[in-house]
């Protein structure tokens, strides 16, 4: 039946939840219309990694809570930004900005890793500033980038971390526990997209609790094209139906994966997919 739906949809007739053999119930909190109106680098990466989680978050509106690592990343970025745009500010001041941000974001989080991650903030802000302050004061921070290439119905929208127009360089800051030996592929796509804003060179700065390194992004055009290719697949996927519920019938969570490992996600898989 699903194959039949797909065939119909691909012929231009969009499938609906009513056409499923065993329609799912519509649990409270689900969106009944698709509100996906633009792509982002993170959305395309999530689609690649876990189509079912992409359906949950982007089509059903069931955003998953993020934990201490993600909140630490935001907090460190705030502290580093403060230190870059205010070159006279002390390290203690920048760390304070980051810690306040972290504590605010984590205020209602049940993540037990809170203290362990909080303890690393000072070192990571210090290392990132030592790495990036030599670039000078950035000409832009959190700059909006929108790209709508041929073949896409929806634009790709995102925000880069730091731009130094005087050097022709955009830098994206990544916080991680272990320094990667090279730029990660999903992050290469993201940075390549940011570099499209004004034909800039792109770099990724990885900071861990004990190390910090910056890598030059290679093959920018190819990685941005990869982003476009993934976004096209998303649009082909979306063309199958106007009904968010339909997409639960053609995806299934991988419960062994990182994306479905937490108790909230596990419950979600059971309630919405019956697995």
């Amino acid at each position: 039946m699903t194959a039949e739906n797909l065939t119909k949809a691909l012929r231009g007739r969009r499938a609906g939840a009513g056409s499923m053999t065993h329609p799912f119930n519509a649990p409270a909190g689900c969106s009944d219309v698709i509100k996906y109106d633009h792509h982002s680098a993170s959305s395309t990466s999530l689609f690649c990694a876990s189509p079912a989680m992409w359906v949950a978050e982007k089509l059903l509106g069931l955003r998953q809570p993020v934990g201490a690592p993600a909140h630490r990343g935001i907090a460190i970025e705030d502290g580093v930004t403060h230190g870059l745009v205010n070159p006279a500010s002390s390290l203690a001041e920048c760390v304070k900005v980051a810690v306040i941000k972290f504590d605010t974001l984590m205020a209602v989080s049940p993540d037990v890793r809170r203290e362990r991650y909080r303890e690393t903030i000072s070192s990571m802000v210090s290392q990132a500033l030592a790495e990036l302050r030599p670039y000078g004061v950035p000409s832009g921070v959190q700059g909006r980038v929108e790209w709508k290439p041929d073949g896409l119905r929806l634009p790709v929208i995102g925000f880069y971390d730091f731009e130094w127009a005087q050097h022709g360089i955009i830098v994206d800051l990544k916080t991680t526990e272990k320094l990667p030996p090279q730029i990660k592929i999903s992050q290469a796509r993201q940075a390549a997209f940011y570099a499209s804003s004004d034909n800039m060179a792109a770099r990724l700065t990885y900071v861990t609790p004990s190390k910090c390194e910056t890598y030059e992004l290679e093959n920018i055009h190819e990685h941005r094209e990869a982003l476009r290719q993934i976004a096209m697949r998303i649009e082909n996927f979306l063309a199958l139906s106007d009904d968010p519920e339909f997409f639960k019938s053609i995806t299934v969570p991988d419960l062994e994966s990182f994306y479905w490992g937490g108790p909230t996600a596990r419950q979600l898989a059971f309630e919405h997919w019956g697995v």
Binding site: E131, L132, P134, Y135, D150, W164, A165, Q166, H167, G168, I169, P181, Q182, I183, K184, I185, Q187, A188, A192, A195, S196, D198, N199, M200, A201, R203, L204, E213, T214, Y215, E216, L217, E218, N219, I220, H221, E222, H223, R224, E225
Partner: protein, 218 residues
């Protein structure tokens, strides 16, 4: 939208058109070719940028092989990334040539700075060869950057004798600085067909005196 014929009949929007810069070896002039729309029709307008020519040359996109240019028809290219075995000559009308991407400086770019440059004349190829050799010799001192090149002048080169003699002008390109690589388009397949690397080269903050101002290139 496809029509009854099964293919679009609407006017092309020209979205896939890669703008070009060409060196006219017979005149010794550099031209930016602008595509101008006039009531739905496109025409090519040559803008002389000989005096102001300044560009980032993306030699990483350099391709070599065979080209056939003729008026009234699209050029035909059969090229491989430099360093690979050249393809068989498609016809006796095809000539040796090279093609690569450049980014023009703001002063000479018009509204499309990223352009393709290609040519088959011996004069053009000799000029590109000279600056490419210089690029190879110096590039390791400028990791992650591309040369910023100006057209310093041209040198007349005579060939043939009598009624069959002619004069072409060899461009003298000069590297005046180095700029961040950025993205100058021109997807070049890796020689072994492998997927593109992301990058593992660790880099330091740029030195102020090492980099040409990015403002020159918009």
């Amino acid at each position: 939208m496809a029509n009854v014929f099964g293919f679009p009949t609407a006017p092309s929007e020209g979205g896939d058109y890669t703008p070009i810069v060409k060196f006219d070896a017979r005149a010794g002039r550099m031209f930016r070719m602008d595509r101008i729309e006039n009531n739905g029709n496109f025409e090519n307008v040559a803008v002389d940028i000989t005096a102001s020519f300044k560009a980032i040359f993306h030699f990483g996109t350099l391709e070599a092989g065979w080209m056939f240019f003729a008026s009234g028809i699209a050029p035909d290219f059969d090229l491989v990334p430099i360093g690979n075995e050249l393809p068989a000559r498609p016809s006796d009308k095809h000539k040796h040539g090279v093609r690569f991407m450049i980014k023009l400086a703001k002063d000479c770019a018009g509204d499309k700075p990223i352009r393709e440059m290609a040519g088959t004349s011996k004069a053009f190829l000799s000029g590109v060869e000279a600056v490419y050799i210089q690029y190879l010799a110096e590039k390791d001192n400028h990791a992650g950057k591309l040369p910023v090149i100006v057209l310093e002048g041209t040198t007349p080169v005579k060939s043939g004798t009598g009624d069959r003699s002619s004069t072409n002008y060899q461009p003298t390109f000069k590297i005046v600085g180095w700029a961040p690589r950025g993205d100058l388009g021109g997807v070049v397949a890796s020689p072994d067909g492998s997927p593109p690397a992301t990058g593992s080269t660790q880099v330091d903050a740029p030195k102020a005196d090492d980099t040409v101002s990015a403002d020159d290139f918009g």
